[in-house]
Symmetry: C2
Subunit: 554 residues, 2 copies
Amino acid sequence: MINTPVEIIPLGGLGEFGMNCLALRYDGSMIIIDVGLMFSEVGHYGVDIMIPDFSYVEEHRDELLAIVLTHSHEDHIGALPFLLQAVNVPVYGTPYTLSVADRKLDEHKLTDCTQTHTIHAGESFTVGPFTVEFIRVSHSTVDCVALAVTTPVGVIIHTGDYKFDETPVCGDAINIERLKEYGRRGVLALLSDSTNVERPGRMPSERAVIPALEDIFDQTDGRIFVSCFASSIHRIQIILDLADDFGRSVFPVGRGMLRSLETADQNGFLRIPDGLLLTASEYKQTNSEDVVVLATGCQGEPMAAMSRMANQNHKQAIIEAGDTVILSARQIPGNEKSISRLINECYKRNAFVYDSSSARIHVSGHGAQEDLRLMIESTRPRYFIPIHGEYRQLYRHKLYACQELDYEPENVILMQSGEVLALDGERALISDKIQVGKIYMDDSRSVIVDEAVMRDRKHLAYDGIIIPVLVVNKETGEMKTDPEIATCGYMLLDGNEEWMDELKEVINQTLTTVPYDERSDMSAFKEKIRLGLKRYIQKLTKQRPTILPVIMQV
Amino acid sequence: MINTPVEIIPLGGLGEFGMNCLALRYDGSMIIIDVGLMFSEVGHYGVDIMIPDFSYVEEHRDELLAIVLTHSHEDHIGALPFLLQAVNVPVYGTPYTLSVADRKLDEHKLTDCTQTHTIHAGESFTVGPFTVEFIRVSHSTVDCVALAVTTPVGVIIHTGDYKFDETPVCGDAINIERLKEYGRRGVLALLSDSTNVERPGRMPSERAVIPALEDIFDQTDGRIFVSCFASSIHRIQIILDLADDFGRSVFPVGRGMLRSLETADQNGFLRIPDGLLLTASEYKQTNSEDVVVLATGCQGEPMAAMSRMANQNHKQAIIEAGDTVILSARQIPGNEKSISRLINECYKRNAFVYDSSSARIHVSGHGAQEDLRLMIESTRPRYFIPIHGEYRQLYRHKLYACQELDYEPENVILMQSGEVLALDGERALISDKIQVGKIYMDDSRSVIVDEAVMRDRKHLAYDGIIIPVLVVNKETGEMKTDPEIATCGYMLLDGNEEWMDELKEVINQTLTTVPYDERSDMSAFKEKIRLGLKRYIQKLTKQRPTILPVIMQV
């Protein structure tokens, strides 16, 4: 490299959805953009969430100057408390983003020791060699920004999550002029959201769901239950407005929804007409045709408001015959079964359900191909780096830039988390590979679940456990009594009652191969017992239970 | 009831997808229509498949005259061996369906003791009071039939899985005339597939995928890898034909695909041009532009051909730069992650991937709303009973019949598995409720996993296990040594090394509450130890590991 390079180091979110986190580093100074989490696919192993491995940041803690947040979704700010526990640096974000982040800091008792700086869209700040400007972008939540980071090597634009919505419901439209201005002055690198690269065309405005929702409101006499993500502020505003137009009051249910209404209202992102919202007791006194229940639980989460109301298991409201249920959200992959369960329960109550497969009541917050084109064409970067997606999306985004926008393949860099891209103004090269990974967390108890424990749990779940227990004289090595075998989650094949006796016999035979004087080496002794049983069980039954011998010396 | 009623008793498949099984019963005679399985959502607990609870059939084994199969999909025939192990009765099916079933019987060593009767579409047979006619219907696999069952009370039509495809690729078109003839003569009840009731319009013919596949073949110079379900015979024929048209040979990979080609070929459902198929060694000598690899694994199953070829882990073929991959199938809910993994791997090899989200290369085998309308209008049943779907589909199917086809709600019967519907020619009423349910099976080892074992495995997986071990003098009740604690999958909070000592102390304190003379009641003694630890652990850590005390008497 000719000059000191600026380094772009994704710590998560490239090659996977969620856990977005990226470092920018120049000459011993570093900032982190976003600190997201990933929701767990392995909840049955006691793991709720995954967060990035922050080893690299901790090793370079002296260089770290700031954490900058693009918006308030969990996959961008959810791991913030865990990083702040390790490194104490100022956090920069827009007012709404920081309001959401503050609540997290509060839950983790980090409010007092964390410095936060409120930056509005359009404003800039400087830390070390980095000057960061917040540029308004459109998304499904509010107060989202792209970052234009001016470094000594050039300008790097990080889009955050975005689409081009010229007519958003809440707040300002995306500031395409400012992006173009940077484009005219010269952008070294653009890092752009790849989520919807496989969808052709433009992503419709947040307003696109209004006609279908209006139709449903128009056709409905009974109670209306609407569920959407609590963070979908545009969607919530649309529902509040429709309720108002149709002379209905709104009863918000679910902690997340109440919080969201409060935060967005305080920050001026929601317009809530006076007297529109009902309390629980007012709701009970209002006629069916005069209310909308706005609730959390659009993914069919069993403990969330919607499922509990459908199961007649909610104190404040229940779903009954003649009600209309609107699930105004996408199905997050993995949630199909729980959503289907919710829909089935509603129909069992004779309530009619609309979801995004049957009506145009959801639109994505991530741009489609023509949005992505517009971003690249506006900023005209020298280097283009697809971010925010699995490998398939990053690849297709590169392909799109090369085929549709005539980028040279060497100027579009297909990075994966952990790779270090060095840009010195002359060249771009992957100069290093650092340690990254997923840390499994039991969020409800705020602890890391280490991988060895996860492996053990997987094994336990699959075939259960067998615990042979032996009592041995610690002086002589003699057995003091017959071995016992305890089991849990282990399946006795064909109800074979004699099987346990056979296994005890296998232990006794193994014992004949361990001379008394060798029985003081406990770990070797246990391993012999384990292997003897393992071989016998596997050969006869193909089962592979965990075998955990315990030897008591008396 | 005025006359002896005919009873319709769904044993599975209503209120859930999969595990289709239904009994028809009249005056002490019974037939079973389809014996399907359901693929497991709980594979991590060592459960591969679920099958219906056959208690009701076993209790009425003397009445059972026959098992009748509508088609060869796993959700219609997969549990056949397990039912035949319990009750030995003749099995009726079309030639292709029985060919597939025969292989299952063979695997379970049931071929010799099972009587099978081949019935062609258009033919009839009589068992006891039931005369069953096989009527050709269209679906994604071949040789599928609806059943017209003439009973003393009237005709009952069971559609099996169907759509109206007047131009199928293989075999005959759906016999709409025959359905209409039954309609003219009078149908007592129609039981009709509800899978796609939420989709408007007509379901396109199996031919609908040809143009998009043709485009891909036309644009591709390199090797083509196509994956579809091995049972999708129409799709396979289309691929064979396209390969032939474009001068490519076909290399079939994967046991399921080879079997399917063989069975469909033997039954005359596939036209395989001479010399089209390649052996492994011929494949190795053929140029990229001259081959199509036709493989199993369209759901990204890690051990199936596609994933192994993408991971460079298959002996006969691998996916390389410049190859084109076509996933010609729908994503079965729950498989999104594995399919995504497969697609990512292909892109990492620089192979381009088409799936059903990016090209019209899949069409469903289940009719949409206008197909369902056509079925009801053709057969004009007195009673209509939606089958084959979750509650939401059954409900919507009823709503459709009432709103679009002017059925009276009392003539459309929304049944759930286990309900007994009695029809006597005058009335229709749910007369009873029998025991039904899912039996969890470890298919690879052909054993039932009982629910208590499943519960234990769930608990083990979530928080691991703690095994306190005590050695006690069996005469005096005195402790012979200090207690030990073994653990597996248990997470020590905050790396607290002294925690185990604390737990031993809890055990010692509990011991002070159990007088020596009460220590011979082993189960009470163990329960005290367990409860003492449970309370302590839960209070301090919120953890709920399995606690399994072992007490050795010496």
